[in-house]
């Protein structure tokens, strides 16, 4: 039994479908990549799991099972309790995700107090341990700092510490290194992988960067137009991508080790074929 299972999830904004029969699963200890270009719906899947979809978006059918519990079947209050205890998010932009007017410490301990019902003092000690675990020097001092006093890499470490704080069994990382320099990105990716392995967490990693996928994921789902085109292991994906769109994405990604290779944009014919697939799906659903 996978820790997270999504079955035939459909979501719409007004009359327009944005997720089309999405199915995927993540085992405990597994890292799955969610890959696609902008507008493919990769962040929407993360938000659907965490129950943070924007108000205009409705889930029309399908199930999200978290640790065997059907989130769609619960009342909102129970759903929040289950999600809060079992899942967490590492967001993209470490500056907007932290409250600029509060010190860093309380922003980490909140989760421990709210979700696990810890005493504030115990939570403070645990937060310091967590900061130490994500290699932040002088945790006591950083706990009292405001976000603007810290660099982007430090802030992202704090968000990682905070995501792992309440020992969630699933973490959704939404482009967590896009805002960072490559050298810092490398450190942060290694840190996420290390923390994930140590805690045995299931990790759903949203990214548009195939390079990052090859470094951190074991399996991946390729998305286009809210539809999963390919669900495969990372080894198979890079060796022999099954879907023409996957192959086209790989061919469009530059590699500094292979400068002579011509960069091919995703061909129109591939896009048209995928769009035809999507239209056929919408007809079956009765949207057209």
């Amino acid at each position: 039994m996978s820790f997270l299972t999504i079955e035939n999830l459909n979501a719409m904004v007004g009359p327009a479908p944005i997720l089309r029969d999405v199915s995927l699963s993540v085992e405990a200890g597994e890292v799955r990549g969610l890959v696609g270009e902008s507008g493919a719906g990769k962040s929407m899947i993360g938000k659907a799991i965490l129950g943070t979809l924007p108000g205009a978006i409705r889930i029309t059918s399908g199930r999200i099972l978290l640790d065997g519990e059907d989130l769609q079947a619960m009342c909102p209050r129970d759903r929040r309790r289950v999600i809060g205890a079992k899942a967490a998010l590492i967001p993209q932009d470490p500056l907007t995700a932290l409250n600029p007017s509060r010190r860093v410490g309380p922003q980490i301990t909140d989760r421990l107090v709210d979700i696990l019902g810890w005493m504030k003092s115990d939570a403070g000690h645990r937060a310091e341990e967590l900061l130490d675990e994500v290699s932040i020097p002088e945790p006591e001092r950083v706990m009292r700092a405001y976000p603007h006093e810290l660099s982007g890499g430090m802030r992202q470490r704090i968000l990682i510490a905070s995501a792992f704080a309440a020992e969630p069994r699933l973490i959704i990382a939404d482009e967590p290194t896009t805002a960072l320099d490559v050298t810092v990105q490398k450190q942060i990716l290694k840190l996420i992988r290390q923390m994930q392995a140590r805690h045995g967490t299931a990790l759903l990693f949203v990214t548009h960067d195939l390079g990052v996928v090859s470094k951190i994921c074991q399996s991946l789902s390729v998305l286009f137009g809210g539809k999963v085109l390919e669900d495969t292991s990372v080894g198979d994906f890079f060796a022999r991508p099954a879907h023409p769109y996957s192959a086209a994405l790989l061919a469009a990604t530059p590699k500094y080790t292979d400068p002579e290779a011509s960069l091919t944009p995703v061909p129109e014919t591939v896009i048209e074929a995928v769009q035809a697939e999507i239209e056929a799906h919408d007809r079956r659903q009765g949207h057209v």
Partner: protein, 268 residues
């Protein structure tokens, strides 16, 4: 034109006031961004400028096209010293060095049509046959002429960035500064824009400075690469040689940090 380099930069220093540490009275202390940068760009070259955030790559680019005035040092554009030229004296030169910006959504006026956006600098510079030149610019970047009537929000990210390129090449410049122009694009649009730039440089005989944090993109496009670290040049060499045998520790660190879409890459 002669074989003289299009740009010569000598010992360039530039600083900004640090308003966060300004005392109640008196001037704010200054933060030095560029710490003595020297470089020469030959005509027709494509130079990649890389470095981490805060390394001064955008500041250097903006000083070269004199959107910023340096504190000291010298910038010579085709032999002419433009380091401290006033705006009136710079105006006629502005036709000859243009810029393409990172985010086309904020650098294209949402209330003007594509045609009016491209025509803007042409009118300011007193060009004749403006309409015809707009069409030519659109042809060059591979957008249909009918796009003149459209507004930026009606275009995709890649198409918008082509409009930015069309506006820059419309005045027939000698030099173009492209500041992170593909970092907001999907890989497919990125590939299209890179191929387009490659082709334009050859067709129009442009000299291009291409600022990017992505070394794979630089490797693909640029003949020379300049690596900046905290306002200093750590390495400036032919791209192929630099990638094959990086001399500076920082360059090596940058190269090692790039995640290649390749499972065999050792990423220790």
């Amino acid at each position: 034109m002669s074989d003289a380099p299009i740009y010569e930069v000598e010992n360039l220093h530039l600083s900004f006031p640090d308003m966060a540490h300004k005392p109640l009275f008196g001037p704010a202390p200054r933060i030095e961004i560029l710490k003595g940068i020297s470089l020469t760009i030959p005509r027709g070259d494509v130079v990649g400028i890389v470095g981490g955030s805060g390394s001064g790559k955008s500041t250097l680019g903006r000083a070269m096209i004199r959107l910023l005035e340096p504190d000291s040092g010298a910038i010579r554009f085709e032999g002419q010293d433009i380091t401290h030229l006033g705006e009136d004296a710079l105006r006629p030169l502005r036709r000859r060095f243009q810029m393409i910006f990172q985010d086309p959504m904020s650098s294209l006026n949402p209330r003007r049509t594509v045609g009016a956006i491209i025509a803007g600098p042409l009118r300011l510079q007193g060009f004749d046959r403006v309409s015809q030149r707009v069409d030519q610019a659109l042809d060059h970047v591979g957008l249909p002429r009918a796009f003149r009537k459209r507004y930026p929000h009606e275009l995709s990210g890649g198409q918008r960035q082509r409009v930015g390129i069309a506006r820059a090449i419309a005045t027939e410049p000698d030099f173009i500064l492209a500041d992170e122009i593909v970092s907001g694009l999907d890989v497919s649009s990125q590939a299209q824009v890179l191929n387009l730039l490659d082709q334009l440089v050859k067709e129009l005989g442009l000299t291009l400075a291409f600022i990017s944090h992505d070394l794979s993109v630089i490797r693909r496009l640029c003949r020379h690469t300049l690596v900046l670290y905290r306002g200093e040049v750590v390495e400036y060499r032919e791209t192929a040689a630099l990638f094959e045998a990086p001399q500076a520790d920082y360059t090596r660190e940058l190269l090692d940090a790039i995640p290649l879409p390749d499972l065999d890459q050792v990423w220790a």
